[in-house]
């Protein structure tokens, strides 16, 4: 279940004050099922709740009467864009149509897909957006974004083991970015750190198009044994429905849903914050309690409460199960006793879960909850039949077929149109931009790209995240992929990367989605892992704009085709629409996550250069490709032309080579080339441990440094002959660039860029923008200063 409030619906409503008191003349009475049946003609504020007239008519048709106000509220949130995927569903089917993968244990449709990573281990991972809440209230928006995705992973039966975050903001020097970014970073860190989950990587990028609509995408990954996979379904008549975790409050009403706080009038209840408030301590207890409950095999089904709260959890559990469920709403533990039944049904209070428990296991279940100080209450039971019923003060206020709420919402085939400006945009080729004419200019451009907010050192952010907790983090940002050990005996582990270049997708959404897939795939491969599965978070503008809908459809088609070619399943994902300010949509931003497996994490390949005298090799082919490049953006403020050519065959060959090299132990470092090309890759490799290199760039040095041709990796080795032999076997072109050593990046005959100067520029950018004086002194990695045992 998505929790992203960005999936948007109409504005907030004028009808909320009537929610539980019935329409019109009946407003002082509880709107029960009986009352609804006897007052069929009463008008209801469906439009203000975001429902279209035909959708409202369909609800009446399903129920054979008008819905009660509580039912109307449930349908309105569950049929909202982000809960029902009504605009995206017809396109997302392509992911389900991909060829079956042996690695996929649980596919799309559950809270998160589950992948077999060998030795009886299963891994579940998913990325989800929390964009709009993070703009409104950066700290809590980002924090609860992490909390929500962690519960999705927990719900599958897994222990969450790591998180990642993919962040995009407006221009780095815009005043509002200084408001939003520090809060988002503190929120991601504050929640994840307190949960005890290492943050192993992600992205931080800036672009004007995100100024009024930052993107906060959070990923969580969890691990379990095959037999421990749990599903969200309610089965077994007489089994109890238990709500556990935090008490239900008024926070978050209007988060995901169509109800926003301004609808409360002076006579209505107090204004509620639309953004949920997180309590990571409670979530930590919930995690430990759940894992103990799973270990004792005490549940038959489980679902987290996220967007749309109890409405979603109960209807989805019932819908996926045998269909019948009864809930007595008076038993829900409340933080605020003045909440009305519809508010209880829609509250998005965090840190709550819903379990289906056999009657003879209820006491053991409650005992585990008591041990961990987790509040739990039996709120209902599974019934025979196919109705979801809810009572309040002894009166029936909901009586619906749950499938119609949870799984049979409206589906739209929205009109699509290729953006009218796309031809002109693609014709505006970045190759025509003025290039550096002298070595001094070349050096200046190099520094500019590397010290730009996108290229700069991200330590200011990642220092605020715990990367060590649980003691299994093998690689983390700034490495290309996060690598986590999952078994201390066998050293089996996983590798993850999240990538989403919005500039490429703006120029060509089909290719852009594939380029992001290719980059994430390459990053996982660079760590030495075997890529296994894909998740995605598709951030786009309004689906009601045909040009945005076309971008979305193209990106989905590109991703599906790319996954087919790479032989990877899509295990699930999240769609975030309505990311725009006024009429201006963000660049289409499909953020793609790739999961890989390491049979032995000890063979992982890190990114930085540590050793002097090693040979620097470039794998892959460099072509003059500058469309959407960091160079064009940073130096010229330009976005135009076509993105670099996609070559998934070359990516596959590269992946085979890297896996082989990792196994042979031939490589001491490897770094994927993407944004900023070789210029960025060399700088990051050298700055990591302060080891420079002497390099030769044959041909056009500008193209060599700034082209963003894909399927390329720069690596170091003490056995260049061995690498070349393996590369020839894999069919990957190799170019020898030079030798590591010295305190500069020296390009023969052209320039010598001292690492001190490079580091000063690279590491000063973010502290200067977002840090106080204590952050303005760059901190150098002390490795090397201390002899290790």
């Amino acid at each position: 279940m998505s929790e992203d409030g960005t999936a948007g619906q109409g504005s907030a409503t004028a009808g909320l004050s009537e929610l539980d008191t019935g329409p019109g003349r009946l407003r002082n009475r509880l709107d029960t099922v009986d009352l609804a049946a006897s007052t069929p003609a009463d008008e209801q504020p469906f439009a203000e709740l975001g429902l279209k007239a035909d959708e409202y008519a369909r609800i009446k048709d399903i129920l054979g009467r008008r819905p009660t106000t509580a039912e109307l509220a449930m349908y309105s949130v569950m049929w909202s864009e982000h809960c029902s995927y009504k605009s995206s569903k017809v396109h997302l089917r392509q992911f389900g149509d991909l060829p079956p993968s042996e690695a996929l244990l649980v596919g799309i449709g559950e809270n998160a897909g589950v992948v077999d990573v060998g030795d009886g281990y299963a891994v579940t991972f998913k990325v989800e957006s929390h964009n709009h809440p993070s703009y409104v209230e950066p700290y809590q928006g980002a924090a609860t974004g992490v909390g929500g995705i962690v519960r999705d992973i927990l719900t599958m039966g897994a222990r969450p083991i790591a998180v990642m975050d993919s962040l995009r903001f407006g221009r780095a020097d815009a005043p509002d970015t200084a408001r939003v970014l520090p809060g988002v970073v503190a929120g991601v860190g504050g929640y994840g750190n307190c949960l005890g989950l290492p943050n192993i990587g992600g992205e931080l990028l800036f672009d004007d198009c995100y100024a009024g609509n930052p993107l906060v995408n959070a990923l969580c990954v969890g691990v379990m044994r095959h037999e421990d996979v749990r599903l969200a379904k309610a089965e077994g008549v007489g089994n109890k429905v238990i709500l556990f975790g935090a008490r239900t409050g008024g926070d978050g009403i209007g988060g995901v849903s169509v109800l926003a706080s301004e609808t409360f009038d002076a006579e209505g209840p107090a204004k509620r914050p639309a953004v949920q408030v997180g309590d990571p301590f409670t979530e930590k207890l919930l995690i430990e309690a759940c894992l103990e409950i799973f270990a004792q095999d005490l549940v038959t089904g489980i679902q987290d409460l996220g967007g749309a709260g109890l409405s979603c959890a109960t209807s989805e559990l019932a819908s996926a199960g045998t269909g019948g469920m009864h809930v007595d709403l008076d038993t829900v533990p409340l933080r605020d006793s003045t909440l009305t039944p519809a508010e209880i049904l829609m509250s998005e209070s965090q840190e709550r879960m819903c379990a289906i428990v056999e009657p003879d296991k209820v006491e053991a279940f409650l005992a585990v909850c008591r041990k961990w100080d987790v509040r739990a209450a039996v709120i209902g039971e599974v019934t025979d039949g196919d109705r979801l019923t809810v009572d309040w003060h002894g009166e029936r206020i909901v009586d619906v077929p749950p499938r119609t709420v949870a799984h049979e919402g409206p589906v739209y085939e929205r009109p699509m149109a290729r953006p009218a400006d796309l031809d002109a945009l693609q014709a505006d080729d970045a190759a025509r931009l003025p290039r550096p004419g002298t070595p001094a200019e070349l050096q200046a451009h190099w520094l500019a790209v590397v010290s730009s907010p996108d290229g700069a050192d991200k330590t200011w952010v990642t220092e605020q995240y715990d990367r060590y907790v649980r003691g299994n983090t093998v690689l983390a940002q700034p490495d290309d992929a996060g690598v986590v050990r999952i078994d201390e005996e066998s050293n089996r582990g996983i590798s993850l990367s999240l990538d989403g270049n919005g500039r490429y997708a703006r120029l060509d959404p089909y290719a852009g989605a594939q380029l992001n897939l290719a980059e994430a795939y390459r990053n996982v491969a660079v760590s030495g892992a075997k890529p296994l599965a894909v998740t995605n978070c598709l951030n786009f503008g309004s689906p009601e704009n045909p040009e945005v809908m076309w971008q979305f459809a193209e990106a989905v088609r590109g991703l599906a085709d790319g996954c087919r070619e790479l032989g990877l399943p899509v295990t699930g994902g999240n769609v975030s629409l309505y990311n725009q300010t006024g009429d201006v949509a963000i660049n289409p931003t499909p953020v793609i996550g790739v999961l890989g497996v390491h049979d032995d994490v000890r063979t992982r390949i890190p990114t930085g250069w540590r050793t002097t005298g090693e040979t620097v090799l470039l794998l892959g082919e460099t072509r003059p490709e500058f469309g959407g490049s960091a160079w064009a953006s940073v130096v010229h403020g330009h976005l135009g032309g076509k993105p670099p050519a996609v070559d998934l065959g070359a990516e596959r060959a590269l992946r085979n080579l890297l896996t082989a090299l990792a196994g042979q132990g031939l490589v001491s470092s490897a770094h994927d080339l993407a944004d900023g090309g070789l210029a960025q890759g060399l700088a990051e490799s050298a700055l990591r441990y302060g080891v420079g290199a002497r390099l030769r760039l044959d041909g056009d040095a500008f193209t060599a440094l700034f082209s963003e041709s894909t399927a390329r990796v720069v690596l170091t080795t003490s056995d260049p002959g061995g690498v070349k032999t393996t590369a020839a076997w894999a069919g990957v072109p190799v170019t020898e660039l030079g030798t590591t050593g010295g305190e500069a990046l020296a390009v023969e005959g052209l320039l010598e860029l001292p690492l001190a100067e490079l580091r000063a520029a690279w590491s000063a950018t973010l502290p200067a923008l977002f840090g106080g004086p204590e952050h303005s002194t760059p901190f150098t990695v002390p490795t090397g200063a201390v002899p290790t045992a």
Binding site: C194, G196, P280, K284, Q464, D466, Y468, E774
Partner: protein, 223 residues
């Protein structure tokens, strides 16, 4: 040798501390905050994390948990105790160590690989180091700024109870770069950095953290 690791609600690095004990050659024993049972352990580690969500003050609620009463009594009789990060905060709140940990001066949570200088190599937890040795240990905290009155700090220094100081940069604004302190008898040590995250080449910036655990095992054997 049995080394207990206490789990409070919100403890996070308990699994890491147990792993460190094991890799150093000891037997980790799980201790539960709500039990009055130290299970006859030879030493106790209070791990990092956010016990009770750091509500009230970091470490304040955990310091009053049932098992901590037993730890305080046993420490007074000489039981070796190591408090790491939140565990250090708990020890200060419980009165076993002097001083207090407050919000980092720059107001951010900060995680970095930190050089420490060893100032005492004769506490129960530091005999495998040498005075003046530089060790590389991760630090990660939001409330790690060690403070005390000048008079108290002077006395602490005079008694030689500063065990570690930050070097090459102070990550949180701690007074006099103090990273860790000891009880008068040198058997209770608390520090903000995380030795349990520096025990394997694969996952840590060094293996310097093992020295804490090998030190206490030797002390326990010879006791």
């Amino acid at each position: 040798m049995r080394i207990g690791v206490i789990t409070f609600p919100g403890s996070l690095d308990d699994v890491d501390a147990a792993r460190a004990v094991r890799l150093a050659g000891g037997e980790p024993v799980v201790l539960w905050h709500g039990d009055h049972d130290l299970k006859d352990v030879d030493a106790v580690v209070l791990p990092g994390g956010f016990s009770y969500g750091d509500y009230l003050r970091a470490g304040a609620i955990a310091a009053r948990s049932p098992l901590m009463q037993d730890v305080v009594d046993a420490a007074k009789r000489g039981l070796p105790v190591l408090g790491i990060c939140n565990g250090f905060q708990v020890l200060c709140e419980a009165g076993l160590l002097p001083g207090a940990l407050t919000r980092n001066s720059h107001l951010h949570f900060r995680n970095r690989d930190q050089v420490l200088v060893v100032e005492r190599a004769d506490t129960t937890w530091t005999t495998d180091f040498t005075v003046g040795q530089r060790i590389l240990i991760p630090v990660k905290n939001g409330e790690g700024r060690y403070v005390g009155s000048d008079a108290d700090l002077d006395r602490l220094e005079g008694e030689g109870r500063v065990v570690f100081r930050y070097a090459d940069g102070n990550p949180n604004g701690s007074s006099r770069d103090i990273a860790g302190v000891a009880s008068e008898n040198g058997r209770v040590v608390g520090l903000m950095p995380h030795p349990e995250h520096a025990i394997e080449e694969l996952t840590g910036p060094s293996t310097d953290g093992l020295g804490f655990f090998t030190s206490v095992l030797k002390a326990v054997v010879s006791a």
